[in-house]
């Protein structure tokens, strides 16, 4: 059986379809750890957690922030259903930083009326956003 040479990656959220591209390689934040996907991957249905989605086409790499969802992986395509997903250049750094600070404060507080689970998720999301946003910062710095 010949293996496909490329992957088609589709990322959709309830609001819009974000990505529809042909790529060589991708990495997803699976529920039980990051997983890399190459063309010819065995069919897999995986739950996603908060984290970064990365994919590469030739030398061109793209990072996205994604939170909660599912990915359907077939030998020649990846379909991702995400609750939220943002391209690195769409991320508002200041907002993400403010959210991270707020979430840390809430986690650090000792009163019992805090919803710790929500704060924890908020922190995870904002950290992931920051990480993704910094990736493109790093890359453009490297080019110079």
């Amino acid at each position: 059986m010949s293996l496909p040479s490329h992957l088609t990656i589709e990322i959709v959220t309830p609001d819009r379809a974000i990505v529809h591209e042909t790529v060589d390689e991708a990495r997803l934040p699976g529920a039980e750890g990051y997983l890399g996907v190459l063309p010819g991957h065995t069919p897999l249905l995986v739950k996603l957690q908060v984290g970064e989605i990365w994919f590469r086409r030739g030398n061109e790499t793209t990072w996205l922030h994604a939170a909660f969802g599912f990915a359907e992986i077939l030998p020649d395509r990846i379909r991702i259903l995400a609750r939220t997903a943002e391209r690195a250049d769409e991320i508002d750094l200041e907002r993400a930083e403010a959210a991270a600070t707020r979430a840390r404060e809430r986690l650090a507080s000792t009163t019992s009326d805090v919803d710790f689970e929500r704060a924890r998720i908020a922190l995870l999301k904002s950290l992931s956003r920051l990480q993704v946003a910094r990736r493109i910062g790093m890359r453009s710095a490297g080019k110079r």
Binding site: V12, A31, L44, L45
Partner: protein
């Protein structure tokens, strides 16, 4: 007979009303376009969700045991009906159709009906009528988000699984076309049997591995399915509302135009009559000399 001044005043009033309705029509038209784009944008997500779910349902026989698919725990509990109305009026029969339909649903359902009210108009109507209200949300259509659907789904699932409701449906205006909105009822819970979507060619290879196991993914996915259904209802309703308002305001603008024409004609007649009368007075005054 109204005086000239009165007529002029009325014409001016109708004219400014006409301007307002014309502006509202333009605004509704541009909002409608955006709402339609959102419906189109939400479609891939819902389709993919549906496909994965029916695929999973076929694969995991244990799926039927899931509480969201199973018949109600308490069959005698009230039926929960979500009614999606608009936040604002001035959109023709949009809201009254919905409210009438909701009221007749309550009569024909054959069991008690509790309500989940989304949108100010429906809320205001039913709150005053002592209906059993389990959920309400207003002022959301200006900035409609997925989290609104999540809130609805959370209540629906909680009510259904706890036995407080024997079923959940959502009543909303479906966007058929700009001229046509249709009131529809969609059953949400228990989730209607997931009919297998026509399988594509790739299904041959789709012998998946699962991470985490299939059963768990399935039960994680079902609440999201409920959310997407509510989200779709909200988006449809938003588009239908703008379409209804556009049509209503178009009709209003046309009526105002006709009214102005009629009033102008009348005013000219009155003015002419006054001039003729004055002339007669002058002439007969001259003759008397």
């Amino acid at each position: 007979m109204p005086s000239l001044i009165d007529l002029r005043r009325r014409i001016r009033a109708v004219k400014s009303t006409e301007q307002i309705t014309k502006a509202m029509k333009t605004v509704a038209a541009s909002k409608l376009r955006r709402a339609q784009d959102r419906i189109v944008g939400a479609r891939p997500f819902a389709q993919l969700m549906q496909r994965v779910l029916s695929d999973l349902a076929a694969r995991t026989g244990a799926a039927a045991a899931h509480p969201l698919l199973a018949p109600p725990a308490a069959p005698d509990a009230p039926f929960l009906l979500f009614v999606v109305t608009a936040d604002k009026g001035l959109c023709g029969s949009f809201n009254s159709n919905l409210i009438r339909e909701a009221a007749s649903f309550a009569v024909t359902a054959g069991r008690e009906v509790a309500m989940g009210l989304v949108g100010r108009k429906g809320r205001d109507f039913f709150v005053r009528r002592g209906v059993d209200i389990r959920f309400q949300m207003v002022n959301l259509f200006n900035d409609l988000r997925y989290s609104h659907a999540e809130a609805m789904a959370e209540t629906a699932i909680e009510q259904y699984t706890s036995g407080a409701a024997s079923g959940v449906s959502v009543l909303y205006n479906e966007f058929k076309s700009v001229l046509q909105q249709q009131v529809v009822v969609d059953q949400v819970l228990p989730i209607p049997a997931l009919e297998a979507v026509e399988e594509e060619a790739e299904a041959v290879s789709a012998d998946y591995l699962f991470e985490p196991p299939a059963g768990q993914i399935f039960s994680d996915l079902l609440p999201h399915h409920v959310e997407t259904q509510f989200f779709r209802a909200l988006l449809e309703s938003a588009a239908a509302e703008h379409a209804a308002r556009m049509t209503a305001m178009d009709a209003a603008t046309r009526n105002a135009g006709e009214m102005i024409d009629g009033l102008t004609l009348h005013m000219n007649k009155v003015r002419q009559a006054a001039i003729t009368r004055e002339l007669i007075e002058v002439v007969s005054g001259a003759e008397a000399l």
